[in-house]
Symmetry: C2
Subunit: 205 residues, 2 copies
DNA sequence: GCGTCCATGTAAACGGTTACATGATTGC
DNA sequence: GCAATCATGTAACCGTTTACATGGACGC
């Protein structure tokens, strides 16, 4: 149950459910996501286990909030999770499943559009991550080589996101080139279309 | 619902639930996984929707099996899924969450062991994918440049797995080097030993 | 006064995992 | 005869998503 432990990790500094959601979106989005509707009940469960405790507190803006903070038991639980072996969940990529079967359509131009869509998506995520890195770098003159050990770990996790996304984009480029070389109109514009014999091979009806 | 559509895609050739499980493990494992206990009820549901139909058939080895095959409606559904936009599910990586908070432990040697564990895991998966690629290449003299368009798509999906895993391993190497440079014993065994840079550079197993 | 953000939740459904159960056939 | 593999399922649970619901505080 990673969400539990991520919340414990984040709660080294007291925070409300709403705060935690913001932390997820700002700092953690590249390897985990959580909705408020999941965060709130989870916090209650963690409090039931005595891993966190809460108190009411004023907000700077808006109504009062419920501030959660870690207990010693919670800290012990966090450490035990961190000390354990790496947890791999099996990765599922719907878009690869689509690509895998896309030969069915018998339309390379469609594949090309699909791949360009992927590339756009990945470059956008990459840009977001890079700007996150830049913000961090600007705020801390020690970034990245002289960061304290603790922040080094955060940096490594971020690097994983960057390298992964760069690889995603490279793969898109490689794939687009490969498909474009075969596509009748080299994947450009909708004009200059040559009739191929493979036109018969389509599956739809 | 990707599993539904993956099953439709695989059922271009008639197959039983058990057959489909083997296909998942053999050809699809790098972007999707499914258990038999999920496959069987899903097949029933798909049959309820008239996207597939089944008949009983003899097996080469073992008891009789229930062979499923695609209906025209199922084929239409498959095509509509393939024609739609790429489906991104948000990716979650527990091991990155662990790394992110691992500064808590204040023990770089532990981080180092963790990263080496990751590297081992990824190289093993990479080796498996490479052997899958090799098997494919050996079986088809057209591989990879003169593959028919349909198989090209399968190849592209496989390439994504390869490039991704290579990036994962590179990231591990980079991270290990960075942490080892700070760790009290250079991250080598119990005796302190100097790290040569050539130690990191092997990616190929 | 109205919209936006702050803040906290509940309920139903969904997709997937784990554990359990059963039995046929084949090869040794 | 026994183990391994082939084959098909059910039940309980878990983590997550989607939709719904409510209301306070602040800025314009």
């Amino acid at each position: 149950m990673s969400l539990d432990h991520i919340l414990l990790g984040l709660l080294r500094e007291p925070a409300s459910g709403y705060d935690l959601k913001r932390l997820f979106d700002e700092r953690i989005a590249h390897f985990w996501a959580a909705e408020l509707s999941q965060i709130y009940p989870t916090l209650k469960r963690l409090e039931g286990r005595r891993w966190i405790r809460s108190r009411s507190a004023a907000s700077m803006r808006g109504p009062r909030k419920r501030l959660y903070h870690l207990t010693p038991e919670g800290r012990r639980e966090l450490v035990s999770w961190l000390s354990g072996p790496p947890r791999y969940g099996d990765e599922r990529f719907s878009y690869l499943a689509q690509l895998f079967f896309m030969g069915e359509l018998g339309d390379l131009n469609r594949t090309l559009r699909f791949l360009r869509g992927l590339r756009e998506h990945f470059t956008a995520k990459l840009a977001a991550l890079r700007s996150l890195e830049r913000m961090w770098g600007d705020a801390d003159p020690r970034y990245p080589d002289r960061l304290p050990d603790e922040d080094l770990h955060v940096h490594l996790a971020l690097r994983k996101g960057l390298l992964s996304l760069e690889a995603h984009v490279s793969w898109c480029d490689e794939s687009i080139a490969r498909v474009a070389a075969r596509a009748p109109d080299h994947g450009r514009g909708r004009r200059s279309r040559v009739v191929r014999k493979s036109d018969n091979r389509r599956l739809h009806e």
